[in-house]
Structure formats: C-alpha cells, structure tokens
Amino acid sequence: MTNTAEEKKALICLIANLLRDCNHVAVGAASPIPGAAALLAKAAWGKPRFVNILGSVANNFFTGGGGELFDCAAQGRIDAFFLGGGQIDGQANINLMGRGNYPNCSPRWPGTFGSAYLYFLIPKVILFREEHSRRTLVEKVDFISAPGISDEKTYRKGGPFGLLTSKAFFHFDKDKKRFRLESIHPTSSLEDILDNTGFSFDYAEDTPLTSPPDPALLELLNRDVREKVAEVYPNFADTIFPVTSHAAQDI
C-alpha cells in the first residue's frame, strides 16, 4: 500500500510537470491523480494559474452552469484536460460507451460524457488510465466515443498529447498517428509493456525509465499541497498520505 501510494505520487509529479505550460486546467471531481497534479503544479510554479475542479462547489469557479466548461474549451481558454476510457486504441480513439455491439453493449459503461467534444477543442488532452492491460489498451475500440485523429477538413484545435498508465507514459505522434513509448515506470519493463499492450506502438529498445519525482516537488506535495488535495479528494488523500502526528496536528 505504501508502495502504491508512492507510485501514485510519482504519477502526480509526472503529470504536474506536463501542466507547467498551462494557464487553465480543468479536471473532473472523480479524477484525483490529475486533480492533485494540477494543484501541485499551481503550488510549485504558479502555473497553471487556474485549476478548476468540476463538480466541486468550493474548487470550481465556473458561474455559468454546466455548459461553461464546453464554451470555455471552445474559446481556447482550457489548455489541458484528462480523458480516460474503458478501451483506448493505437490511434488514440477512446471508448467510454461499452464493449460489444452498440446499443446493446455488455458491459455498458456510463457513456461518452463530453469526450466527443472536448477531445477536439482542448490542445493538451492527456489520456490517463491506470490499468495497463490488453483489455483496456486494444487494437481497435468497439465504439469510438471520441476519435484520436481527424482528417484535414475537420475543425480540430485539440487532441491527444499522450497516454499515461500505471506502467508507462506514451507520447502521441500526431503526424505518424501512433503512440511512441516515452518512458517506462520503474515497476515495469519494456517486455511487460509489450506483453500488456493490445495496440502496436513505436519504441526504442533503450526507452528510458520514467524519472523519479523531483524530491523538492514530492516534498511540496507531502507538505503544502496535501491539505488542498484532502479538501477536494478526501478519500484519495487518506490513501496516499499516511496519517502522521504532524498531519494530525494540522487538523
């Protein structure tokens, strides 16, 4: 469990680094790792300047109703967002609808949410799916909730930046329309990744390991950002921050 907590913190630090060039990052209320990363980046570098936790009351600054997120994305005012998927394929298509033949999917997942739209309009969409298996990372999704790529004539300002899993980080190459393995997390290996990825992707034999989190950043997360994370994602905070006498004092 401690190990898992450390892994999650490493993911948070990795994502935080991806958000340094952003002004405004929106994250879902059910996305604690990206949310914690955005809060950490803001605390570390003042960038992103705006972090909006959707579905939250206290940490959501939208005042225009549920549609404001989508308008805001279309205005070019959201720089990064996170999408997941029950299935993700090698062309970065994502499926949030379900397995099997639509409409009688089995299992049926919740549905497409805003993905069919946001994927087109937010420049840096980070696909995030902890489970890295041939079940989730497939050759071709059963249902395209949102396509990873579009033809020339399609108005598209955004799209997939990369794919982060519990095993690795892939960069999406928009020209080649393929993922390229960027780095391998210390708990995994190239062989493990090849075994557990259902789509083909580019890689170098000497793909580097994912850099361990910068100690200063980790310290900032553990010290200053933990409370903010706990405010937004209390259950998640319990799992990654062991309760110490120091923390108890804070409460």
Binding site: A29, G65, G66, W109, G114, Y119, L121, K153
Partner: protein
C-alpha cells in the same frame, strides 16, 4: 402569496407529470429531486422520456429499474465511485429502453436551441464519433460562412415538457433560487414548465436584494413547487447534504438482483419510508 402561488404535496406534484412526458433532469451535482422521483415511482408513471442534463445517476437508474422509462437521452448514466448502475446496465443489455446517447455539450446545446426558440444550433467537435453515427437527430451541415469544406454538426432543439429538479428555496411568488447552477435556468427556459422541489419556502421575496436575485429562476418559468426538505436524499446537494454513503452502498448491494431491487423499492419508495 401575492400571485396566488401555492406549493403542492409531493404526490400532487408527481400526478401533474403525465405518462409519456419528456422530463429534463440535472446531473447529481446540480440538485436532483429524488423526492419527486420516488413519488413518480409510487404513482407508477410510464413511458417517460428522460433527458439527463447532461448526465444522470441514481434518479434515472431507479426510474429505469422501476419500469417508468421508455427513452433515456443523455451523455452518461453514472453512479460515480459506486460503480456500474445495475438496473441501467441490465436494461441496456436487454434492450428494454431506447437510448439516445449524446455528448454533454450537445445536450446543453439542444436545450439552448429550445431556449432561443430556434430549430437547431451548430456545435464543433463530434465528427468521427460513433455517437454521431448512432444519434437519430443530429445532422452534419456545411458551415454557410466557410469558403472551403467545413462540416459542422447541427444539433436540433430539445424541448422537454418539464424540467424537474431540487433547489434550496422558493418564495411566495413562485420564484426559485438556484444560485450559480445556471444549467437549471437553461433547462427551465427550454422546457414548457419547471417542476421544483425545495428545501424550504422563503417568506421574503427572492428579488429583495440584487445578490439573491442574481441566482433566481423567475416564477414565469415555474409550473409547480413542492416543499421537500433534504429532497435530494440520498444524493448530495450543492447547497446542503452530503451523499448518504451507507445508503448508496446498500442500494448497490440490493440492486444486484431483480428481487433485491424490488425489495429496495418496497422498503424505500413504495412504503413511503422517509430518510432518517
């Protein structure tokens, strides 16, 4: 009550929602009228066309499970961290409800088109999604202002009969305070009438201060109001209760089987059991 606006009992409120009605319901974070949902199940409403704005959760799950729904139009049905919605999952697998699967902004856009009294509104994105391929209403048109090929999706207006939700307050004129949950305003403007359960009645006008007025849905759009304190239970409410976690877990456990779901209905809805 200067305008003669009277709140009604929850049973009368539910009786005024006819079988076959097209009912817009908000996502869990915006204030779901679970009290009205239970009353609808008790009155055995049939053939509802639910529009989840832009998603739904336990409300649609219960109505679907209780056989009240013919069409479910939304971008998602999610119980969040509690996992897959058992009755919805079963209904989809068996094809016992008609699905109109959309994407969140298209639900908002369809309502905005109705709100503006226009037949459609264009929307970016969506092209190449299987949601577009399967949607019965959307069309791809050429952007009339582009010189080059520029396909864009045209979303037809969605006009619900009723916008049904829970809010903190109504006043004696029939005005309702919705704070910054402006999707409720859009829903109400787009619908023929808003049906609102409220935690309480304000004896002073909600227009008394400009601060309060900024978050008001005017009575003009409001059809019926029923007082239902904590009416979103067991769901959370943005201006009040937390989710009843124990109850949600109990629901997930009971709703695994048809019998268990029937027991849930009997125990918590048909018997008019009220929250502790």
């Amino acid at each position: 009550m200067p305008m003669g606006f009277e709140d009604v009992s929850i049973e009368d409120f539910a009786m005024a929602i006819p079988d076959g009605a097209k009912v817009a319901i908000p996502a869990d974070y915006a204030g779901v009228s679970m009290e009205a949902t239970r009353a609808l199940i008790r009155r055995r409403v049939k053939n509802l066309h639910l529009v989840g704005v832009p998603t739904s959760g336990l409300q649609a799950e219960l109505l679907i499970g209780a056989g009240c729904v013919k069409i479910f139009e939304s971008s998602a049905l999610t119980l969040g961290e509690y996992g897959p919605a058992p009755r919805f999952t079963k209904a989809v697998r068996e094809g016992s409800i008609d699905l109109i699967d959309a994407t969140c902004p298209a639900i908002h856009t369809g309502l905005q088109a109705s709100q503006k009294g226009i037949p459609f509104m264009p929307l970016r994105g969506i092209l190449g999604s299987d949601v577009l391929k399967n949607h019965p209403g959307w069309k791809v048109i050429q952007n009339p202002f582009a010189n080059e090929e520029d396909p864009i999706v045209a979303i037809p207006a969605i006009q619900p009969d009723i916008a049904l939700f829970h809010a903190p307050l109504a006043d004696r004129d029939g005005n309702v305070w919705i704070g910054r949950k402006r999707e409720l305003v859009n829903m109400a403007h787009a619908s023929k009438a808003a049906f609102v359960t409220v935690d309480a009645i304000s004896e002073t006008s909600l227009f008394e201060t400009e601060e309060k007025a900024a978050g008001v849905l005017p009575a003009l759009y409001v059809g019926k109001v029923s007082v239902a304190p904590n009416g979103s239970w067991p769901l959370p409410f943005w201006n009040g209760a937390e989710v009843d976690d124990a109850h949600m877990r109990r629901y997930m456990d009971m709703a695994k089987s048809d019998e268990g779901f029937q027991d849930y209905l009997n125990e918590f809805i048909l018997q008019e059991t009220v929250p502790a």
